[in-house]
């Protein structure tokens, strides 16, 4: 279907000036094996601020670029427990008149006590569905929003998105991006490193402006 693109290597030789404000370098690969190998090579070469961009999650890439386990599950667990507590307090408080009411709460916010179908005011069995749903609601919202926030998204403007080549990162290509802020970064040396990696199709310098 797709012809393999002829490997293109951008020329970053000395006569080209490196832009003053650099975002970094990206190297393009066309398969999973090569990108994992490339990430390993870069890590072994001492790069830390680097990333892999791929159209789907790659199994085994976390180790290759040294991604630590996210704390997301703990945040979700905490918020789930908060949701459970909220549900428990909400159902109990609003159905009971014997709970202490802080002075700042207006009087008409107190529990609304009425008997119905012979059930006790506080019937835990009947509150379980609401408590359960609130637990799930809190956790699920947290899982989504915390994930996006930890990923620093939304970020609608990103220097990478200006690259025409990078458009294929969401299609079929894999990019190793090395950040200019990395201690070992040197536009020329890093470009050479990328260029010499097995299967590297192209290297591109990304401006940050």
């Amino acid at each position: 279907m797709t012809a393999i693109d002829t490997p293109i290597t951008e020329d970053h030789s000395a006569e080209h000036d490196v832009p003053a404000k650099l975002y970094g370098l990206i190297g393009e690969f066309d398969n999973v094996t090569d990108i994992i190998a490339a990430a390993n090579t870069a890590r072994e070469a001492g790069y830390k601020k680097m990333d892999v961009h791929s159209p789907f999650p790659i199994h085994g890439i976390d180790d290759a670029i040294g991604i630590k386990q996210t704390i997301l599950p703990w945040i979700v667990l905490f918020m789930g427990l908060s949701g459970m507590t909220t549900g428990l307090l909400l159902t109990t408080y609003t159905m009971a008149d014997w709970l202490p009411q802080p002075g700042f709460v207006p009087e008409n916010f107190e529990g609304y006590t009425f008997l119905i179908s012979g059930k006790p005011l506080v019937s835990l069995a009947a509150f379980i569905p609401v408590i359960f749903e609130l637990t799930i609601m809190f956790s699920a919202y947290t899982a989504v929003f915390a994930m996006f926030l930890l990923n620093k998204l939304p970020l609608l403007s990103n220097p990478l998105l200006k690259s025409e080549r990078f458009r294929r990162a969401t299609d079929d290509r894999f990019f190793l991006a090395i950040d200019a802020r990395d201690g070992s970064f040197d536009a020329h040396k890093t470009a050479d490193l990328l260029r010499n990696m097995h299967g590297c199709l192209a290297v591109e310098l990304i401006d940050d402006d």
Binding site: D30, T33, V144, M147, P154, T170, H198
Partner: protein, 489 residues
Amino acid sequence: MAAIHPGTQIPSVETDNTLDDPCRRAPLVTGGLDFTGVTDAVAKSAISRPTLLWWVLFAITGPMALGFFTMIGYLFVTGTGIWGNNQPVAWGFPIVNFVFWVGIGHAGTLISAILFLFRQNWRTSINRFAEAMTIFAVVCAGIFPGIHVGRPWLAYWLFPFPNQMAMWPQFRSPLLWDVFAVGTYASVSLLFWYTGMVPDIATLRDKAQSRIGQIFYGFLSLGWTGSARHWHRFERAYILLAALCTPLVLSVHSVVSFDFAVAQMPGWHTTVFPPYFVAGAIYGGFAMVLTLAIPCRVWLGLEHIITMRHIINCAKVMLGTGMIVCYAYSLEFFTAWYSGHHFEQFVFRNRPLGNHYLGFWMMVFCNCVGPQVLWIKKVRENVWGIMWAAMCVNIGMWFERYVIVTTSLSRDFLPGSWAQFVPTWVDVVMFTLSFGLFGSLFLLFLKLLPTIAMAEVKTVMPAAHAHGHGHDDGDADHGQDPQPHVEGA
């Protein structure tokens, strides 16, 4: 073997992936599609102009949806008397429709959450539009109880907020549990759907030709770049959401079943209702998935991604959940007899022979008899056979809720309070028009958003996995060609 030059079109070497060979797993993407092939096939419908057929269909569903809202307006200005609901059958069509639609809205989350946890890779091709269908079905479902409350402008009283009336919702009422369950389900499903869609919207952003498309998709994709760090958290979030949605999807129809089962009403009060309703919901949901998937895969040219194997798998899930539903029906009859509880016995005698016998036999035929053809392999491999079964279930599951609501309410304990339920034209028209709303939303989805979870489909293609562990083994044919090999080409 003939040489393959770059650019050679590789013919599809294997299109029939329905064969069962225990020695190897069938490919889930056929037709020689590689990553770009998947992207192009899916993105095509979103980034090109709508086809004539799309306009024709939208010209039907759009006015129907408008008609639906007009009918709601008519209801608001006139009152619920225009429905057939009356004592003792106060629930009537609106609640039947609510349970019907909310049931359909179970397949999507089942596919994306439960099948995900069970590592059923085939779900990736159908989960996106099943989830979309879920959300649109829940939208339709939410409208019916909303307009059924009688004074819909006071529907906000259902929410717990401090107010000047010093009044709180009644947390011991199953109807309030519904508000929480359906509210949570609708919003969490929406988030789940959207979260899964973000990487694919980014693909559309990068594929879009028009400026408007780029801005639209660019905005919705939140700046997704497919970063490995992002994917890492994305995967965790997705697993967590799947784990959370699994009990959620069970709870929603369980809570709907509590609406019935906590009552003392014979025919409603039975302990197996929660899992039985959940199975029924999945049954109806998968029928709707199949009803939509079978024509859409041809229409949108996605036969190599939603393959016949996917359709057959869905049909098997439908058959399986249908068997659970039949089990529950039988158990109800058995227990009514076994219990010696004569009101129970009466209700279960009244269903097949009494005032709503036609509904009952429609239910039995459509849910327990018609779909049994799927046991036959030949039928299961024929789209028309599957379509027949799915249509049966679509109809049968509506009648199931009709039977549950009307038979018990219209013939409860005291003959003095018996009355026949007769739907009015408004009932029938409103239910029919609700399909217009569902269809319009679904058509908009097909046109505007990625209909297939491209990123996920790519993960189940063989090329998504690194070959072996030696990184520098110089293996020449890595990745690029997901096809097994061109044999004898």
